[in-house]
């Protein structure tokens, strides 16, 4: 519960931002303090990011092995699933699923690629390879 300590977290994405936290003490007062989150909150956030990073690494390997198209990698990097990607890009669900196949992805026209690029906030050249 020590909120003053400044532990270092595994993931590079962890910054340090102070938030307003409420608490209730024995005297019946609701107190407001501005401080860092306690350790349990960090643990559960770390758990989520570990999960996402694992998925991203997995997808990257699959793309490099030529099993799926780079769309899968960028989808995991943006933390979305197929349904949300179809909403983001404005392409129907079955077409998105089809574009996961590398052979189909190679034949995509510029207009569709542009849609994906806008959804992922990257350029079309970046979309064609993984970093």
């Amino acid at each position: 519960m020590d909120e003053k300590s400044n532990p270092v977290y595994k993931d590079q994405r962890f910054g340090q931002s102070r938030e307003l936290l409420f608490s209730y003490d024995k005297d019946g007062n609701f107190e407001k303090t501005v401080g860092f989150h306690g350790e349990p909150d960090r643990v559960i956030l770390q758990q989520a990011w570990d999960h996402f990073n694992e998925r991203i690494a997995d997808a990257r390997e699959k793309v490099l092995a030529g099993k799926v198209s780079p769309i899968v990698y960028y989808m995991e990097k943006n933390l979305v699933d197929t349904l949300n990607l179809s909403m983001l890009a404005g392409i129907s669900l079955w077409r998105v699923k089809r574009h996961y196949k590398p052979n189909v992805f190679k034949r995509l026209n510029d207009k569709t690629l542009q849609k994906y690029a806008v959804a992922f906030n990257i350029s079309v050249e970046e979309l064609k390879k993984v970093d």
Binding site: D11, R13, F14, G15, S17, R18, E19, L20, L21, F22, S23, Y24, G28, F30, K32, V34, H37, E39, P40, D41, V43, I44, L45, Q47, A48, W49, H51, N78, L79, V80, D81, N84, M87, L88, A119, N121
Partner: protein, 339 residues
Amino acid sequence: MESKSILIDYTHRQAGHCESGATSNLFNFYGHKLSEPMAFGIGNGLYFSYIPFLKVQFAPMISFRNLPNTVFHRSAKNLGVDATVIKKFKDPNAAMLALDRNLEKGIPTGMQVGVFNLTFFPPEYRMHYNMHNLVCFGKEGNLYHISDTVMEHRHVLTYEDLMRVRYAKGPFAPNGKMYWINTIPKELDIKSAVITGIKKTVYEMIKVPFPLIGVKGLRWMARDLKKWPRKHGDAKAAFYLGQILRMNEDFGTGGAGFRYIYGAFLKESGELFNNPELLEASDMMGKTANKWREFTYIGARNCRGRSKPEEDYGMLGNMLNEIATMEENVYKKLDKIKL
């Protein structure tokens, strides 16, 4: 576009919850002292829903808050304030133009945004969460001055970034929703607003005839929680449990799924109307909130796999059931109070 610099004299104060904080700050801008818990209670921020068949971030959807914009809309309605809510703009440029026009008139404007592309937000929170709220109160060329009540200080966003977060896609997409206060009466009838607010919250928590909402939803979740390790395996069960805790503690709640803020609201209104029963209810709510926090501490140990043998999912499920009973008692008590 010609660039004219506008800066409205708007006080940014940090709050536990994004929307009630924005509402409270907007009311304060028009000269009415409305604290954050008060706005939260009057606008029925308290809620619970568990929707196992809808997945958000690869885990079941659990919400401790009401639908976006409820707090502002209901607190304005209950207090008799003339406010405008525009739910949807089809054209992003039209939405930005409407914001510019408002700023020229000197009206600070609240907006619903998605978190994922919000540049000043702490990176660890940047997941797809579309129910965040912020207030824009100034413009300088391409930059907009933003007051995000979850953050300690105010920030700036560029035109492109603001447009991107206002048109985030996915579940509960904001679609450029914006809201502001037009005129505000000199005297606010807080008492009747508090009564309406409490009534509505009690209805939503124990009287909705649907099993996944309110206390019933809490019990349903407790039952499912016990089944998760057997049904999905340990890793997935831990991730699902983490989702409950993340929604409970991390997403701008002020802690314990808003129960602290609601308790503070009950206490404040109890002191305002000299009502000992409300004070008692606030004490009960505070204890429930502490129990929620205890649940988080034990649950987090479970997520990391460092729990004691007796702290398994069965025990957590029982704890949730206990919390549900405690909460139900609070709402039943509130239901009987005559103000």
